[in-house]
Amino acid sequence: AQSVTQLDSQVPVFEEAPVELRCNYSSSVSVYLFWYVQYPNQGLQLLLKYLSGSTLVKGINGFEAEFNKSQTSFHLRKPSVHISDTAEYFCAVSATSGTYKYIFGTGTRLKVLA
């Protein structure tokens, strides 16, 4: 079975400052890793994903994440945030074989302050 831990429930940050949202996972098998963003009253939208290859992945809206297998982490970063980045961010994992389930973390609410 897989599990995901997002250590920060809320992260306030000033506009144009850098931000890192933390994600750690647990799994006995190889996994794919994802970050999704959810704006108020909307469904979830994919930001980026790690399937294989380069451990640094770039996504939409200037976000990037780095897969660290030894630390079982997949932290999300952005060098300069905008007010429009205010949203809920979810980390998710899915096994590379067998089940097709996606397991989500509890989410981090990013609040960008003017």
Binding site: Y32, F34, G43, L44, K49, K101, Y102, F104, G107
Partner: protein
């Protein structure tokens, strides 16, 4: 555009009155999922289908049932909604083909209120 469509966007039902939520997809994906999301919580997987193969989560209450009559449609039936079932219900799909295109496609969700 290919997409995942959920209807209705908002659903109000009475305590104990059966309700059905609908999801359709134009992506021709093999896998369809139902998630329950309560305020400020992670989406919780209720069940998923690979084609017609149904997979129920162990902690999904018996009150929740699902049907997938064909590739395009999937329904969530709540037989006797309780106040605790008020939540956003998210439908999602994935291709089921491992590799570069692997990801979940979400609908906009149905917000269920139970009075």
């Amino acid at each position: 555009d290919a997409m995942v469509i959920q209807n209705p966007r908002y659903q109000v039902t009475q305590f104990g009155k059966p309700v059905t939520l609908s999801c359709s997809q134009t992506l021709n994906h093999n896998v369809m999922y139902w998630y329950q999301q309560k305020s400020s919580q992670a989406p919780k997987l209720l069940f998923h289908y690979y084609d017609k193969d149904f997979n129920n989560e162990a902690d999904t209450p018996d009150n929740f049932q699902s049907r997938r009559p064909n590739t395009s449609f999937c329904f969530l039936d709540i037989r006797s909604p309780g106040l605790g079932d008020a939540a956003m219900y998210l439908c999602a799909t994935s291709s089921g083909n491992r590799g570069g295109n692997e990801k979940l496609f979400f609908g906009s969700g149905t917000q269920l209120s139970v009075l």
